[in-house]
Symmetry: C2
Subunit: 283 residues, 2 copies
């Protein structure tokens, strides 16, 4: 029984950790979103990959779900003193080690897939963790009204710098047209016995993965179940701006809208018991 | 009275700090060695520039003379856990802020001269600090006997990783043939009223500066005093491997050998009082 799980950050990482607790590690492959990756201070930051790694390694900050437990911010505090404009993204000292090693290994010509495997080994993970692709893809949020003069925002500006305040009317994955299925992702999709879509943001965490050239076709052609776990419970997101986005995109703030979003690929849909009344609307 | 001081790391930075205490800041320009700069984990590390900055800013580690006072090493400890081979160079958490900002500003297309000025401003320095040139030059130590199969070593490998243990027979400045005088260095040399050579290592701190294309000629053509402060006191180096290098290069472990080294450019030579007997040998 080989399970492939598609994951974004915190919400997805929680289910992935649960799966890792009950499955033999060679049976679980996690494919994580990398469309919110970005370059900052010369580092390549891959928030979703890192959140999955830290959660699988059990070293994640217990309350936040992302970043390290017992993290310090001495480098960041110094950046704030020297160049306040560059201190908006929360970089912990331990976390910096991940980004520095990733930078080094990427600079040496390794693919993000290989670098991620190397990081996973360094964190003693036995589960296979793959980036959705090796090409650089970046999510852009398309705004209803200009925000500080901008009509679109890079995802981390939207998510971290502006705390999801700007209203969105759409989103796009810049560079996705150059993406290809890596050999590792292709093999995982061809040999899986079940596909799990984690309770991650459908628009900015799972949609980018499904948008990698060839990914959705491989999912549609599969001969196995596809189990979607709703990231919306009682109208609220497990984590992050999914519910707010549903509203701004003109959709219902409900698990029903999630089921609708995945209608063409889902065979099973997991609802929270508090939403059991909705089961009748999802058929 | 405009003073230009040539400096390496700790020894030079101490004299530079003293000069900064007694001179109006607009009268002092420091030109620092950058031939021991190197790339590490994607960062550009400039040990001598940083040591001068931290000393001028008064935030240097009081005992070491390099690095920050009250520094922590959480990022480095994590690198040691994840990839022990990359933890040989001591990178403090606060220090990382300097390297990350330098990386960002260099990546944006700025020269090292401009980036250094930007860092100096961030540290509230009022003295002018210049790198010896904007091109990348790297000191290589040429060994008497192969060390772990290598006949030459990059400077930081020699200095930090192997703690100056390998015996050297010579040294070379790789890339120096592509170096040019920056406008700022050229202006400083053309308008100085005195040149001070700090008590830095003559071979690997001051020689690279003098080897920048056009630098030595400008010094020889000057119309002002050149005051050398001996880095050797009573046969021992103020700091670092200068005395050991003198020995391995077949020179006397004495301030006399230093005076000889600078004979063609020095007009004044400052000896420690413990070496006053040597004054007669230096004429």
């Amino acid at each position: 029984m080989r399970i492939v799980a598609l994951s974004g950050g915190v919400g997805g990482a929680k289910l992935v950790s649960g799966l890792a607790n009950v499955l033999p590690p060679e049976r679980l492959t996690v494919i994580a979103n990398t469309a919110d990756d970005f370059d900052h201070l010369g580092l390549r930051i891959c928030p979703d990959l890192d959140t999955v790694i830290y959660n699988l390694a059990g070293c994640q900050h217990p309350a936040q779900g992302w970043g390290h437990a017992g993290e310090s911010f001495h480098a960041l505090e110094q950046i704030r003193r020297l160049e306040p404009a560059d201190s908006w993204f929360l970089l912990g000292d331990k976390d910096l080690a991940t980004h520095l090693l990733r930078r080094k290994w990427l600079d040496a010509g390794n693919s993000l897939t290989d670098v991620t495997a190397q990081l996973a080994r360094a964190f003693d993970l036995s589960v296979t963790l793959l980036p959705m692709c090796d090409q650089y893809v970046s999510t852009r949020m398309i705004l209803k009204q200009p925000w500080q003069g901008q009509t679109t925002l890079a995802f981390q500006d939207y998510f971290v710098r502006y705390q999801c305040h700007p209203e969105i009317k759409d989103y796009a994955f810049s560079g996705i047209e150059h993406s290809t299925l890596s050999d590792a992702v292709n093999l995982a999709l061809q040999t899986m016995d079940a596909l799990v879509i984690c309770p991650s943001n459908p628009f900015v965490s799972i949609a980018p993965i499904l948008s990698v050239t060839g990914f959705k076709d491989a999912v549609l052609e599969r001969q196995c179940p596809c189990i979607v776990v709703s990231p919306i419970i009682a109208g609220r997101a497990v984590k992050g701006p999914a519910a707010k986005m549903l509203h701004e995109l003109g959709l219902r703030q409900s698990a029903v809208a999630i089921a609708e979003f995945y209608r063409d690929i889902a065979s099973h849909f997991v609802l929270d018991s508090s939403d059991e009344d909705l089961a009748l609307c999802i058929a």
